[in-house]
């Protein structure tokens, strides 16, 4: 899967399912402070990523993932 396709799919579920305002979707947006993704949202994102990308996010892997750009990187690495 190409990075552009990953970005498109992630942005789509963040807007459609997590209901994040489209104007907040930027590479350097902080997941917690800018996108307001809390621990409960994260549980839902784990479920969506499993359905969309076919792997399960390990909570311990997310320690270094702070921005949306880093989240794209993480998914890209996992789906390789």
């Amino acid at each position: 899967m190409k990075r552009e396709e990953i970005i498109e799919k992630v942005n789509e579920f963040l807007v459609e399912e997590i209901e994040i305002a489209p104007e907040l979707i930027k590479d350097d947006a902080l997941l917690k402070d800018d996108l307001k993704i809390d621990s409960l949202d994260f549980v839902d994102i784990v479920v969506i990523v499993q359905k969309v990308f076919g792997f399960k996010i390990k909570p311990e892997d997310m320690g270094t993932v702070k921005t949306l750009g880093q989240f794209y990187d993480y998914i890209e690495e996992k789906v390789k």
Partner: protein
């Protein structure tokens, strides 16, 4: 003594989703019963059910709030939103005043079954998502409504089978009388999905009159063959009288009496004595006599046993006075955990508009109902004092008396 009055109501039911729609249905004797074909495939004896529309929540609630709502909470949200609006209570009021909640609910079967199915399929509890736990608990309605409306008073679900909604109103009244709260959200919610009623159907308690669904629920009629499950939600805003007057609220009526009892018998066995004790206590609490009651909204669900035992109690108390009686379950089906609250809303709509809703499908009395004044056609009549009955499995009984002010 501090007095508890009704200043707001909201209803989401199979006979309408606004007070106006429901009022028309009650006056016209319109049934909300239909057939759910999925129930037959699933193994039910009876596919009959109240047909309740799915609420559209997105205009009112964000994803986080919606994701925690089980079906019965969706109904309860719609009813409560409308009840607050009806009472003239806005977000400013809720942010600056302490409001409590006692709400009747006694299952969240679909949420539990769906979660179980996901775990069985995925072998991973994280695949349930964040909302499953908040949908699955019995207190799902009160935990969600108190979060959505930012309630900061008493916060508790009342689980008392088919008397849950009625007890919630009784308890709300007591908290107001005691000076513990000035405003309490009371009500009852009932899920209507096919997963929620299979075990009840398994007792052969449901009518199988599928050839004519709107004639299936026939409380007190000699040919009744069981109840029709139904649901939705009803919300009643209870408020301390002086508090209501001070803020210029419209007052529908005063909850003047709450009576309760427990049969102490077999788990599904109704009791005429238990019913009579609850009604007698409610009237004593209200300081009224049998002849002061202008209308009884009966619990009668259309089961052979249940209606017979309630009829025996009603006969002893109300037959000689000729008190008008009807069971609105003839139109709505049995709204179970919601019924005690919705039937108070139905009765208040009647009081407000001076009519008695009919007990449709009552064609031939049996030996127990033959002396009762059961109303079969809508009747224009002023109602000053009403009594509403609710009884449930385990022998829990509740009766509420309400007076017009």
């Amino acid at each position: 003594m501090r007095r508890a009055v009704i200043t707001g109501m909201g209803i989401y039911s199979c006979i309408g989703v606004t007070l106006y729609e429901v009022g028309n249905s009650l006056f016209e004797g319109k049934s909300g019963i239909g057939i759910d074909p999925v129930r037959k495939e699933y193994g039910y004896r009876s596919p009959l059910t109240g047909i309740v529309p799915k609420p559209i929540l997105k205009p009112f609630l964000d994803r986080r709030l919606r994701s925690c709502l089980a079906e019965e909470c969706e109904y309860a949200f719609m009813a409560t939103k409308d009840a607050f609006q009806d009472a003239g209570i806005d977000t400013d009021y809720l942010e600056n005043n302490e409001v409590g909640i006692f709400y009747g609910n006694d299952s969240s079967a679909k949420a539990v079954i769906d979660a179980n199915n996901t775990i069985v399929e995925m072998k991973d509890t994280m695949m349930l998502g964040s909302g499953a736990i908040f949908q699955s608990m019995n207190s799902t309605v009160t935990m969600n409504l108190s979060t959505i409306f930012k309630l900061r008073g008493i916060n508790m679900t009342v689980s008392a089978a088919c008397a849950s909604g009625s007890h919630s109103v009784g308890l709300g009244m007591m908290f107001i009388r005691q000076g513990l709260q000035d405003m309490v959200v009371c009500g009852g919610a009932q899920e209507t999905n096919y997963l929620s009623m299979g075990s009840f159907d398994g007792l052969s308690a449901f009518s199988t009159r599928v050839d004519n669904p709107t004639a299936a629920s026939r409380p007190f009629d000699a040919s009744r063959d069981g109840l029709v499950p139904s649901g939705g939600a009803a919300t009643i805003i209870l408020e301390e009288y002086d508090h209501a007057v001070k803020r210029g609220a419209r007052i529908y009526g005063e909850v003047v009496g709450y009576g309760f009892s427990s049969n102490g018998g077999q788990i599904s066995q109704p009791s005429d004595v238990g019913c009579e004790i609850a009604m007698t206590r409610a009237m004593a609490d209200a300081g009224v006599s049998v002849r002061d009651i202008d209308y009884v909204n009966a619990h009668a669900t259309s089961t052979p046993q249940g209606d017979a035992f309630e009829a025996m109690a009603l006969d002893r108390l109300f037959a000689s006075a000729g008190t008008p009686i009807s069971s609105t379950k003839s139109m709505t089906g049995h709204e179970c955990w919601m019924a005690g609250a919705s039937e108070i809303v139905y009765s208040m709509i009647m009081m407000q508009n001076s009519f008695i809703a009919p007990n449709i499908n009552f064609e031939h009395p049996d030996e127990h109902s033959q002396n009762l004044n059961i109303i079969t056609k809508a009747r224009k009549q002023q109602l000053n004092t009403i009594l509403s009955n609710s009884f449930g499995f385990g022998g829990t009984n509740s009766a509420i008396v309400i007076k017009k002010l």
